[in-house]
Structures are given as structure tokens and as C-alpha cells.
């Protein structure tokens, strides 16, 4: 084991010192590095018995090197020994010969700017035996909620301690430690002569002791039981009410609308001059806010060391900003926004969405209540198979979903169906919002009403 890596995490100063020595010995003047290490333990159970218990110690680094021509190369490794670091740096130098002269990343001008203070309490791990007891209890509780719930085939309770570092040869040094815990419970229920049904719930927290286990069991049970009485749905066009989770999933799948990297690459639905265009109904706001206090595991800085911040994407339905890395920001003449990865070609991605009505607007149709609608309403609880059913660069989607058809105020689970449409049409067909915004692992969002979506039922 190298002196940079030990069971307690990374040592930034040792890492910097080693890199400086290796860089100097290999004629490398300019470099930066992202490093991460984590310790995880997790348990799964099966009808009261431990099924699999896992532990992992992981470490990895990505180094970038600028060569004498100013071109950039990158290499990643999990080998943090001295020889591993040397191989990584020299590998990056070799790769820099193939760097793209038309798109050269630089150090972020904000890599030493002050970071926002995040309230992220570090919790000591509970240990695998306590995790096991907690999960066995949760499973038993869930199994006892309904006679039809026979198994909880997908379940897990995990806790993680992690640390990440960003360093560069100009002296930037970012470091963040984090502890997180997660619980998921997906139950399977089956009644005689009927198809099996499945649903679940997830909870995140900064420590296993902080997890809302009862809430997770309650939600998994309620959702699973609610799908037991199902019926097919006629194929047709419906007004759909997206749950916060489902709408966040949909917006996330089409986040290339807001992605400057995708714009520059020609694979976004937006263009360079799209800022200021109306993309949605005039009462829709979308912000990206990785710093929201409910965002468990928020990062204080991105892969290039740029501070995370709240960014308006849509205000009043109008596109206000793109998500940027250092390189895309330079191309657009703006400041980096804190949404970069680390690479020779730097990726860009969203952190955590806040979606809701535009302040001061009417928020669309008021008083929406899916149980009091005068027409049949499709309530979309969760979308699946987004990787297969979303054509992000085309705007179209066709996605299976779990949900209910509400007629006359009575919800009935839909046997199997897909919802299809175009994200640009969806954003302009929003009728309004129902209820308060809900915190989910991916963001904050109320229920969203969208009219005229195509739903296909399985015959």
C-alpha cells in the first residue's frame, strides 16, 4: 500500500508531493488530478435470512497532463502506489499527443474560489450486523403488511464513507468527505390467478441511523398493495399526472436541452443561440441546485474544482442558462457553472433539479386534484427503461410506467402500459401542478399535469 492511500482515506498533501516529484522527473509542468476513495458495506436479506453481505474499499484517480504543445492527455487508475501514479502521469503524457487542438480544457478559473458550506454530518458506520438486523426487521415488517406480499426480491441497506480530492499544479486543492446510507425495498406481491405486481421505495440519509426505515416500508407497502387490483387500459390520448419522481426522471433523461457540451457537439435539442427561447409553458421554472440541503451527498465542487451553485435553467418557460464546464463556458463567454466531470473531453451533467411554478405566475390551472377530475386521468407513478426508451437527441420517448387510471375519483392500477411523446411538446402541454413540491433523491418537484399524451395499453 502506498503512503497516499490508507484505510482511512486519501492524503492530499502526500498525493501532491508524489505527483510533483513524478511530474518533475518526467518533464511535466502542468497537471491536475481528481481522486476518490470509498469504503462501503451493504447487506441483502431473503425472507429473514442474510443473503449477501458485501464490503468494498475502492480508490481511483484521474490525471490530466498538458504537454509542451498545450494539448491534454488523461489516464485513470485504481493503482495509487508510487508506480501506479507514475504510470498514470506518463500514460497521460503519451495520450496528450492525441489531444484535440480545437478544444483544449484549461484549469477552471474558479478552482480556488470559495466553496459553499454544506451541512453534511459525518456518521460513524454502524457495522454490518446492525445493518443486517435493521434490514431483516424492515423486510419482516413489509412482508407482514399484506398476505399477497410473498417476497422482497430487491432489497438492500448500505452505508458508505467517501472522500474526493481535486488538485492542480497551480496549487488548487479541494477536498470533501462524506458519509451516506441508503435503503431500498422492492416487494413482489401475487394473488391467485393474477399477475405478480411489484413496487418499492428508496431512502437516503447521511447515516444508517438517520434513515427513515418506517417511511420506506410504508411507501413500499402502499405502492405494492395499490397495484394488486389492476386492469388493462385502452390505448389512447390521456391527460397524465406525473409523480415528482417520474417527472424528474423525464426531465433528467432530456437534460441535454440544458447541456452546453451537447450543444457544442450538435447532439442537443438546443442550439448555441437558444438562450432566451421559450421552451415551456410560461409558468414553469427549472433550476439546477446541487447545494439544496435535501440533496443527500451533494458535492461542493465539480470535477474541475469549480464550486457547485444554483443555476436557473428555465424561468417562466424561457431558457436562461446552460450547464457548463470550464471549456464550454469559455466557448460561450460565460463562467463555469460547476457541472463538469474530469477528462480530456470534459463531460457536463446536472446535479439536482428544482422544478415548480414560476414565482409570481399563476402556476397554470389552479386547484388541480386528480381525484376530482371530470375526465379519466392517468397517474404516472414511475417510469422505467429510460435507457432504452428515450431518444435524447431526437426529443422522443416511449416508456413503460407503473400507475393508475383514475375515473370518477377512483384509482385503479394499470396492468401494463407505455407513455410516449416528445419532450418539447410535453413542456408546452403542462396544464399545471398539484400539491406541494416533494423532495426525492433526484430533486424537488410537485405533481405535474400534462395533457394529450399517448398511452398504449398491453392487450
Amino acid at each position: 500500500m502506498s503512503e497516499q492511500q490508507n484505510s482511512n482515506g486519501l492524503n492530499a498533501e502526500h498525493l501532491r508531493s508524489s505527483l510533483e516529484q513524478i511530474a518533475a522527473a518526467n518533464g511535466i509542468q502542468r497537471w491536475d488530478l481528481g481522486a476518490a476513495c470509498s469504503t462501503d458495506i451493504s447487506v441483502q436479506v431473503d425472507r429473514g435470512e442474510p443473503k449477501q453481505m458485501k464490503g468494498a474499499q475502492r480508490s481511483s484517480i484521474t490525471v490530466r497532463v498538458w504537454n509542451e504543445q498545450g494539448l491534454v492527455g488523461v489516464t485513470s487508475t485504481s493503482d495509487l502506489s508510487g508506480s501506479g501514479l507514475e504510470r498514470a502521469l506518463t500514460g497521460a503524457k503519451d495520450a496528450s499527443a492525441f489531444g484535440n487542438a480545437d478544444d483544449i480544457p484549461a484549469f477552471s478559473p474558479l478552482a480556488t474560489a470559495p466553496l459553499a458550506e454544506l451541512h453534511q454530518p459525518i456518521h460513524a458506520p454502524q457495522g454490518i450486523l446492525r445493518l443486517l438486523d435493521t434490514l431483516k426487521g424492515a423486510e419482516q415488517d413489509l412482508l407482514g403488511r399484506h398476505a399477497a406480499i410473498s417476497t422482497v426480491p430487491y432489497n438492500g441497506l448500505a452505508e458508505r464513507s467517501s472522500e474526493r480530492i481535486y488538485l492542480n499544479s497551480d496549487g488548487a486543492c479541494r477536498q470533501q468527505q462524506l458519509s451516506t446510507a441508503s435503503l431500498y425495498l422492492y416487494a413482489r406481491a401475487e394473488e391467485t390467478g393474477r399477475k405478480p405486481r411489484s413496487a418499492g421505495a428508496v431512502r437516503l440519509a447521511y447515516g444508517a441511523g438517520e434513515l427513515d426505515v418506517d417511511g420506506c416500508v410504508n411507501e413500499a407497502a402502499e405502492r405494492t398493495i395499490s397495484h394488486l387490483d389492476y386492469a388493462p387500459i385502452d390505448t389512447g390520448r390521456y391527460t397524465c399526472v406525473f409523480s415528482p419522481e417520474a417527472f424528474l426522471d423525464l426531465v433528467g433523461a432530456f437534460s441535454n436541452l440544458f447541456n452546453a457540451r451537447a450543444v457544442l457537439d450538435g447532439v442537443s435539442l438546443s442550439h448555441r443561440d437558444s438562450i432566451g427561447e421559450t421552451l415551456a409553458v410560461p409558468f414553469l421554472d427549472i433550476h439546477d441546485n446541487g447545494l439544496h440541503p435535501a440533496n443527500i451527498g451533494a458535492s461542493a465542487f465539480d470535477g474541475e474544482g469549480t464550486p457547485t451553485r444554483r443555476l436557473a435553467l428555465l424561468e417562466g418557460g424561457v431558457l436562461r442558462n446552460f450547464l457548463h464546464s470550464e471549456a464550454t463556458a469559455r466557448a460561450f463567454g460565460v463562467a463555469p457553472t460547476g457541472h463538469a466531470g474530469l477528462g480530456a473531453k470534459v463531460s457536463v451533467g446536472p446535479d439536482w433539479f428544482e422544478i415548480g411554478p414560476t414565482p409570481g405566475s399563476n402556476g397554470g390551472e389552479s386547484g388541480l386534484d386528480r381525484f376530482k377530475a371530470g375526465q379519466p386521468i392517468v397517474w404516472i407513478d414511475s417510469l422505467s427503461a429510460l435507457h432504452a426508451g428515450v431518444k435524447a437527441s431526437q426529443g422522443s420517448f416511449s416508456l413503460p410506467f407503473d400507475g393508475w387510471l383514475i375515473s370518477g375519483g377512483e384509482p385503479r392500477s394499470i396492468e401494463a402500459a407505455t407513455v410516449a411523446g416528445d419532450i418539447r411538446q410535453v413542456l408546452k402541454a403542462i396544464v399545471g401542478f398539484e400539491g406541494e413540491a416533494k423532495v426525492t433523491p433526484d430533486g424537488l418537484c410537485p405533481m405535474v399535469w400534462v395533457e394529450g399524451l399517448s398511452v398504449t395499453g398491453e392487450a
Binding site: 500500500m1 492511500q5 431473503d46 442474510p50 443473503k51 449477501q52 453481505m53 458485501k54 464490503g55 468494498a56 474499499q57 475502492r58 481511483s60 492527455g73 488523461v74 489516464t75 487508475t77 485504481s78 493503482d79 508506480s83 504510470r87 498514470a88 500514460g91 497521460a92 492525441f98 484535440n100 417476497t151 426480491p153 430487491y154 413482489r188 399477475k195 405478480p196 405486481r197 411489484s198 390505448t235 457537439d265 450538435g266 447532439v267 480530456a344 473531453k345 422505467s384 427503461a385 435507457h387 432504452a388 426508451g389 437527441s393 431526437q394 426529443g395 422522443s396 416511449s398 416508456l399 413503460p400 401494463a416 407505455t418 410516449a420 399517448s454 398504449t456 395499453g457 398491453e458 392487450a459
Partner: protein, 475 residues
């Protein structure tokens, strides 16, 4: 501390024997029924070309170990990047601790040591060096994007990507398993986004092989670009498909993803363990149309899912899953055999040392039938021809869905206009009996499969098949 320190660098060879024996003996002496150590070294290269420029070169290398301990029907698994004696010992002790076991100075291990190494890698040690170097790889990729430019129209974005994954593994277990292998996977993909006003079509293809260092040199960039451009040109102006229930003919090669997702996953013992397959108690029963025979194997030369040995050290096999509609066997790994009774099939696979092996597919396909593809299409009065499939998934209750990348209406036994936006939806146990005709043109296609033990290299395949009735999601 382990008595014998492992070598610090170089290949995973018999120099590791003594230190691995120490670990295995320690685990057994602590009371484990079986201890397995999986060592891994990797070397990856990724290259991306956009338009006529190399925009990303991403080398990566790594190493690590996964240690798994079984006692009764339970197991504990710990992975680490730290291959030092202390690191491996710490991982073993953590895995033992998960099962309530502790190393014992006086315990009897009952472990007699490892046999001679079964070295499947001996003839493969130069594979990495024989692969194209960066200069050659980037040149070949730019040939691909150049061909896209020459053959396509309305192309807003052209991309070529190349991935080379080299992996050396060593598996040692206290039941006497001791094997080493080297794996090499290379794939090259071409993608375009065609746009003309409001019309947009994104089309991609990926080609991949295993264990063929010269693969990229042999890649026919012109033919690949022609396939991609033809599809993009067709789909750019296609109308959206109308949703409904209809017969479908699925083309060969990647059309096999339907069997992989809809049925193959349900024949893994991990699904039997979870109680999530409808086929658990149906070995020997008819679960599909008699036209269907399905195979999973790891033997086809050069195929993406082929293996000399699996990630539990067992040699690959040919496993008949379904024969003339009758369920014959499940795909099983070590834990699956222990927990379900289905004998191992050389199918214990994992993405890397950070995952415990699980029963996973290799090269999985429906066998060829007696018909011609034209006969299948001619038998449909009104339906859908799915020429190119996208990705798909199967849910915890067996519901599946697949995106169709390129499709055509079948009207009166003939292909007519192209349509887009189709999704095939169904449930395995209902669709399998509806596969009523198989053509004589079996072909395989490389793919990636993500599941409980990570993302692995697989092959899907089939001849043209006809499904009598399936739900098509559209607009």
C-alpha cells in the same frame, strides 16, 4: 499477516500460489465452508472521434481482488484495490466477520493446498501488445467517420468510438479451483444524428469481438458506415408508428435482444433465488412454441460472450436452455447451485473484482429454423418488421420492453413504409409461446448486459423470428 507475501508486480501466475494458499487456509480454519479469491488486472483504452477529429483518448488501468466466503447458504464478499498482504488479509477478515467468523490460530483448515495452475492465459500473454497502438486505432476510427461523411446525408453529428478492454484474472478457491485467464474485448461503434428541419434520426451500430487482437484492423469501416447511413436516411423522414397489438417479425442478429431480456434473464438462477421467474418449477415443461430452441454458450470463437473459463474458474460450456419449446436447464453459478440445486454451467460472471460472480448469460441465441425470412414476412397480413432493435429491459415481474430503432410496416405480406418510435412490450411467459416461426439465417451480435454482477460482455442472436402477436407502443 499472510505468511507468504504475493509478488508486487507482473502477471498473476504461480508465484501467487503460496500467498493464496495462506488466505484460503486461514478462511477455512475460521470455519468457512468455502473461500474464493478473485484477482484482476485491467488495461482499458477508449477513443472517441467526432466529425473528423479525435476528441478523447482515455486510457485506464487497474487491479483489485474480490474475496468471497461461504458458510451454509450465506456468503460475505469484500473487494479491495489493495493487493498487499495486509490488504488481502484485511479483506478476508472482513468477509469472515460478515458471517460471524474469526481467524483462528489453532483452527484446522482441512485445506490441502492448491493444485497446479490451469493456465488458460499461457497462449494469450502477447494479446495486448498485438492490439493496434493508439496511432493505428485513431486512424481507423477516423476512417469510419470519414466514411459516414461520404455515404450519409443531413448528418448533424458523426461519431466513432473504440474500446479495448484487456483483463487478466486469477481464481483460487478452497475447493481446489485454481485458474488463470486473459480476456480481450474490442468494440467499435459508429453513430450519427441526421437532421432536416423538424425531422431528426439518431442511429448507431456497435461491432465487437473477443480474443482477436487484430479485430480493429479487420473492421470494414466502409460497410459499417453504409449500414448506419442507410438506416439514418430511411428513419429521418419516417412517421411514428401507431400503437396496438399486432404480429411482428424481428430481424436476426441484434433482434436476439428480445430473447435475452424477455426470457434469458428469467433462466438465471439469481432469478430463481429471488422468486422472480415464472419458470422456476417448470424444467421439463413446455414454456415456448415448439419452433423455439434456445442456447447459451461460451464457446463460439471470437464471440463477445465467449470465455475459456468463467469468473469462478469453471470452463465454459454449451447449455441448451429450451429445446423445441421445452425448458431444459437454468444458467447457474456457484451460489446458484448451492441455493437452488441447478448444476453450475460455467456461467459465473462479473464485471470486475468489485462484484461477486452471479449466473449470467454468455452467447445466447435462438437456434435457426427451417424457413426463409421472406416466408415469415409473407405470412403477416398487417404487422411490424423490426429490422434493428435498440436496448431493452425486464422488470421484476417479467415484463419486458424493447425500443425498435428501425422498423417497417408489413402490409399484405410485404414491407411498406418505415416507422419510428416503436416499443415492444410484453411478458416472457406470454410471448414465448407466440414465437411461431424461425428462419434459417441465425447471426450473432455483440452487446453489453447490465445486471446484478455489473456490466458484462455478451452476445445476443437469433434468426429472423415471427411473433404472432405483441403489443407495440407508439404514438
Amino acid at each position: 499477516m499472510i505468511a507468504t507475501a504475493p509478488p508486487e508486480a507482473g502477471a498473476f501466475d504461480s508465484r501467487w500460489t503460496a500467498s493464496l494458499e495462506d488466505l484460503l487456509a486461514c478462511g477455512r480454519a475460521a470455519g468457512a465452508d468455502l473461500v474464493e479469491v478473485f484477482l484482476e488486472r485491467t488495461d482499458h483504452l477508449g477513443v472517441l472521434a467526432e466529425q473528423d477529429t479525435i476528441t478523447s483518448v482515455t486510457p485506464a488501468f487497474g487491479m483489485g481482488a474480490g474475496i468471497r466466503v461461504f458458510r451454509d447458504r450465506r456468503d460475505g464478499f469484500v473487494s479491495t484495490n489493495d493487493l498487499s498482504p495486509a490488504g488481502l488479509r484485511r479483506a478476508l477478515e472482513q468477509a469472515l466477520g460478515m458471517l460471524g467468523l474469526e481467524p483462528s490460530a489453532n483452527g484446522r483448515s482441512g485445506f490441502d493446498g492448491l493444485p497446479a495452475l490451469r493456465d488458460f492465459a499461457a497462449a494469450k500473454t502477447d494479446w495486448l501488445q498485438r492490439c493496434p497502438q493508439l496511432q493505428e486505432a485513431t486512424g481507423r476510427l477516423l476512417e469510419g467517420t470519414d466514411q459516414l461523411q461520404r455515404q450519409g446525408s443531413h448528418l448533424q453529428a458523426r461519431r466513432g468510438s473504440y474500446a479495448r478492454d484487456w483483463q487478466e484474472v486469477l481464481v483460487a478457491a478452497s475447493d481446489g479451483t485454481f485458474g488463470r485467464d486473459i480476456r480481450l474485448h474490442q468494440s467499435v461503434g459508429l453513430n450519427v444524428l441526421a437532421a432536416d428541419g423538424e425531422h431528426r434520426a439518431g442511429v448507431g451500430r456497435r461491432y465487437g469481438t473477443a480474443d482477436q487482437p487484430d479485430d480493429l484492423r479487420r473492421w470494414d469501416a466502409t460497410a459499417s458506415a453504409a449500414e448506419v447511413c442507410a438506416s439514418a436516411g430511411t428513419m429521418l423522414y419516417a412517421d411514428y408508428v401507431e400503437a396496438g397489438q399486432m404480429p411482428a417479425v424481428l430481424a436476426n442478429r441484434f433482434g436476439g435482444v428480445i430473447f435475452h431480456e424477455a426470457c434469458g434473464h428469467l433462466l438465471e438462477t439469481t432469478q430463481v433465488e429471488r422468486g422472480t421467474t415464472p419458470f422456476a418449477e417448470r424444467v421439463g415443461e413446455v414454456i415456448a412454441h415448439e419452433a423455439v430452441t434456445a442456447i447459451d454458450e461460451g464457446l463460439t470463437g471470437g464471440a463477445f460472450g465467449s470465455l475459456s473459463m468463467d469468473d469462478e474458474g469453471m470452463e465454459a460450456q454449451r447449455t441448451v436452455l429450451i429445446e423445441n419449446g421445452v425448458l431444459k436447464r437454468f444458467i447457474s453459478d456457484r451460489a446458484g447451485e448451492m441455493r437452488t440445486g441447478h448444476a453450475r454451467t460455467g456461467s459465473g460472471r462479473r464485471q470486475s473484482h468489485t462484484f461477486a460472480a452471479a449466473s449470467r448469460m454468455r452467447n445466447t441465441y435462438i437456434a435457426a429454423g427451417p424457413h426463409t425470412p421472406e416466408q415469415l414476412i409473407a405470412s403477416v397480413e398487417r404487422g411490424l418488421y423490426c429490422k434493428s432493435m435498440g436496448g431493452g429491459s425486464v422488470g421484476p415481474t417479467g415484463q419486458f420492453n424493447f425500443a425498435v430503432e428501425e422498423a417497417y410496416l408489413i402490409e399484405n405480406g410485404k414491407l411498406t413504409k418505415p416507422v419510428k418510435g416503436a416499443t415492444l412490450i410484453g411478458e416472457a411467459k406470454e410471448v414465448m409461446p407466440r414465437i411461431s416461426m424461425c428462419a434459417n439465417d441465425l447471426e450473432l451480435a455483440a452487446g453489453f448486459c447490465g445486471s446484478v454482477s455489473g456490466s458484462i460482455f455478451v452476445t445476443v442472436g437469433q434468426p429472423h423470428i415471427k411473433v404472432d402477436s405483441i403489443t407495440v407502443g407508439g404514438r
